[in-house]
Symmetry: none
Subunit: 214 residues, 4 copies
């Protein structure tokens, strides 16, 4: 009994530690890619950043490539969770939820310069790396599905005619990405509030009864 418990406990702790290490390394990767760039980030950089030893990356991930993949996946999952959380905390209507998503996109938590830098680093490499491309595409499609559904609901409930939900959603998604790029490249010219206003300006065209021109 005692022994079993002990073993289970130890193993449970170990498993937990393993997950912790992975997270530790992923976070260090994000910091390092943000600081040094994708091409310049070495495994030594990451482990030093994490305060761990060199060999750990190949123990927990199989290779540098896999670490990068997992980092991308982590970022993707994190963003998705934040979306769902934002929608859950928002008001009951589809418009409330859509606005909450826009707010989220330009909130400090998502709009963190470090994370934006990492996103664009991965996008820059995605073209020539099928796996990244896949993860990014899946992420994009998921996001657009959510936004399209919300738009569809607004259209139906709000009685908007002559407008396609997919078009609005694709445009919004593209606009947000483009604004993130602006914020990353020329942060002084594009503060978050400004970016959010532009997004709302865009939505106020599609859904004038639900979004006021700021």
């Amino acid at each position: 009994m005692k022994k079993d418990n002990k073993n289970t406990g130890a193993r449970g702790k170990r498993e937990k530690n393993k997950e912790l290490r992975r997270l530790q390394l992923i976070r260090a990767t994000i910091r390092s890619v943000a600081r040094r760039g994708f091409a310049e980030t070495t495994m030594a950089d990451v482990t030093r950043e994490a305060g761990l030893s060199l060999g750990l990356i190949n123990l927990h991930f199989k290779s540098k490539d896999r670490l990068m993949e997992e980092t991308l996946r982590h970022l993707s999952g994190e963003y998705e969770s934040a979306c769902f959380a934002a929608m859950a905390s928002a008001g009951p209507t589809a418009a409330d939820k859509l606005r909450a998503l826009v707010e989220l996109d330009f909130s400090p938590r998502v709009c963190d310069r470090r994370k934006l830098a990492v996103w664009f680093s991965f996008w820059g490499e995605a073209r020539s790396r099928p796996t990244y491309q896949q993860i990014c595409a899946r992420n994009d499609r998921r996001y657009e599905k959510i936004v399209t559904d919300l738009c569809q609901e607004i259209i139906e409930v709000g009685g908007y005619a002559g407008i396609r939900a997919a078009t609005v959603a694709n445009g919004l998604s593209a606009l947000v990405n483009g604004l993130w790029l602006d914020m990353l490249m020329t942060p002084d010219d594009m503060p978050p509030e400004n970016a959010r206003d532009i997004s709302v300006f865009y939505l106020s065209h599609a859904f004038p009864n639900h979004f006021a021109n700021p």
Copy 2:
């Protein structure tokens, strides 16, 4: 005398050749970055792609970094020239010119997947490379200046009120960049015409009298 002439002639020819070689290498760089990605492009790749010898890059450019810089500058200049050419060929009004710019942005010449890939590769690395950042920012600012001026003119001439030229211009610029990213990542979901329509949809909000909702 003769000799001098000859030398001058030869030198002129040489200069020309030199310029040709540089262009040849830059074009090879674009192809290579598009195919392999920024981080994976080596000098050997580039010279092989160009059909030239390894040592030439360090002869014509000083280093790999400089080659990349020049490539980015080349891309930037090329785009700018195309903008001016498109505006020159367009109708006389600001709206004509603005529409021409949008058409250009999704025309095969600019919207070439290889070039988009290179743009995003550079953007991905720009954060951690001041020189790239600078070139990209300058490029952006120039483009936004042009678009802002056009918007300003449309606003003034068209009698639009309660709208800021900069906001519209920034939004358009971001939207186009975002659409490019979509086209790069999920080309099947976003054909050029679609992207152009979304851009026009955006402009039709700001300037309903000048751009019809497609």
Copy 3:
């Protein structure tokens, strides 16, 4: 008292377990070296092969080098035991015993491809590892002593003249090793019976009255 007994019993059991583990690891080493080669065999390979945990090798042997040494010693001892057993089971005369040794050398038990592979792996490394060299040399010398003694007896009893026991023995030993190499490298060209016949052919020259040309 009881406690002491218990301890002794437990210790005895433990000792037995310890010995079992060592054997288990040595056998796994043999399999691994045979499959992957000496240079490519890692401790992880060995423990995985044995179905045991990584740390065990350093617990039971002090290091990888020691594991290899012990494996070589094991192989050497195993072969020696088999020799004595074969001689004990053989007929009473020296010629009987010599023939039994030859039979043993090409019997499945000794002539196992996996073990041959391991022998040659060690011989390949022996040159640059004094300890291996020592173990191999001792093994060789012991074998040649046995064979030389048998030859000597045959010479004396059989009345052979003009022949040195050492020469015959050295030749036989070399021939067997060479045939093993052939069997390892080109098994299809050299089946065990063939190899044994060649050995007997060799002996029939030295001792025509005792070994018939096959």
Copy 4:
């Protein structure tokens, strides 16, 4: 003209240098494997031994494995050439040539301890490396073909009956390999002359009229 010659000359020289470098590296590999063993030979060892820079191996060979392969091939070719040369310099009869081969096998040039060590190193690794196995097997077969043909001729011309050329040849080949192993492992117990005498002793059984019992 002049220019062409010059270019040809330069290129010719370069080609020559390239071949020289390869040889230089192969020789260094042989020395290093002989001294340190196969598993312990690093690329740094080889290049240091050759007095060249680290990167050269991957320039001239594609990888360490390829260097090892080429080294094995070199050794194999060298031995084969020596065989043909020895046969060409020998007397006219098949027996003369066979004796010359045996002499060669125990002459300092072939019987060099360093080279023997390398042979056995490769044999040790061959089992788990198909390419080595292939090269070694081809080498073996070529040698046995030569020896078998010579034996066949001796049998026919000398009127030997009840003896198969292949058996004698296989036995001789195995015997020589086994003797090399002895010379490598316990050089003091097996001087070259001794080894040669044992080989001739073997041949004197098969072909008593052509080889005298030493």
